[in-house]
Amino acid sequence: MPESISYNNLKPLTQWVNLQQPLSFDDYCQVGGYQGAKVALEHSPNDVLDIVKNSGLKGRGGAGFPTGMKWSFVPMFKDGDENAPDNKYLVANADEMEPGTFKDRLLLEGVPHQLVEAMIIAAYTIGANKGYIFLRGEYHLAAKRLQQSIDEAYQNNWLGEKIQGSAYSMDLYVHCSAGRYICGEETALINALEGKRATPRAKPPFPQVSGLFGKPTIVNNVETLCNLPHILKNGIEWFQAIAPNSDAGSKIYGACGRVKTPGLWELPMGPTLREVLYDYAGGMQEGLQFRGLLPGGASTDFLVEEHLDTPMDFDSIAKVGSRLGTGGLIVLDDKNCPVAMVLNLMRFFAQESCGWCTPCRDGTPWAVEVLNRIEQGQGKIQDLDTLAKLCDFMWIGKTHCALAPGAV
């Protein structure tokens, strides 16, 4: 790539987003689409795995787990190996329901072919012949557009038998869910896809070894996957040079609440909270003061003014006591009551708890009750003790999934 191109202006993920009318198959190919998948098919799955590992790509679903490492846990078999399972699965996690998170919707509605291409690359690498897009039920437009793109990919032999003359075959389906936050947790999602009640499963075993229908399965977030075509097409160096001083690649950041210009922006990894809040979201609306924010969705911890110079990457945000999560700021102003805000969040978690673990099933509504009292001005000093105890009771390690710690 010529030196003159500023890496910082590159927006690989969102460059071709068009919400009115997403690119058709032909138009997507015109702008370089399916080139990444082509490169992948020219390499062995093992080589592609090395590329993804070395790229430094981390999961954009919120936990930031290194994607290549996750894939490397999937058992691989030689042709004809009698121990090989009859199938493995790739699932795109498009259940986006974390309050304050709306980034995947942009990719799903705006450039659906990118996800289809990405899934071909990922499935090929882990040796899966079947992929599912697990889509939240409310995203009707995305469902329609994804299905159109999948149909076009079949017509052009990018899906189906012997893709582009290679020995690799793959089928891809959209599964529309019916609205329940816990379905986004990867093991709950697997239960949901199997037609069971969507409660999480105990880990280990991790899905990479025993997932959908008991077979090796990779679940990746939509945004994570959408990086793949670009990494394959442009190479590892290009990907790492996007954000030389941070986690590799770009990230879709967002902001909502009473800021001047709420929205989404694809930026090199690691802008500071302040930059996103003031340079992109425009700061607070007229007459309002900044009070605090959640950096990456409802399940992340509050940050305030003194934290604003923290870069938004996985490690830096963790160092100041929160999590990058999904990278969407939820901004609180001085005219909204903080207790009411916390109450709103806690109500959400109480409602969405799947009810499997006692601390979460009973702890979240209890916290709602206490907060309700405080909000109505009837709080007692003991209530704070109760809340502190509840927080401890629902912390990491005491429940099956991260919903309860997220609520705290």
Partner: protein
Amino acid sequence: METIDTTTIDYQHYLTAPEIAAIEHEASIMETREAAGIEALKVVQENRGWISDESLFAISDLLAIPIAQLEGVATFYNLIYRQPVGEHVIHLCDSIACHLTGLDAVLAAIKQHLNIEYGQTTADGKFTLLSNACLGSCDKAPAMMIGTEHYQHLSPESAVDILQQLAVKGAVNA
């Protein structure tokens, strides 16, 4: 409440041919028939508005899913209605971004206009009001979904306007 004699419900008599075809298609792309349960519920709900006990039994019969398990699935999801609902179901987002940007006023205006609370249906059977978790419109909050339409940047006035227009237009999904 009357108990239903489940032995009398046989899917072939209860479900229509297009319903069965749509469900069989879903079953064919999954590894097990059980896995098509949620899609089956959606297919039937789309045609009949909600999932009655009879519908539940018929699907359980067609897909050979134990009834208790299917009921567990049906009641787990927000978008499966196990009670009759109005012609239009309003899913008003009550999550954080909408809360911060004026949900309370919009909710009050809708309740007043329709004269119902969350979970209720208007006397004329036109509207049911439900809350919904974040609709992914947080940058354009407050937001609601009715049928497959998403409405954003709501104000008390615009929300009531939308409902008035729907009331004259008839069903969105029809």
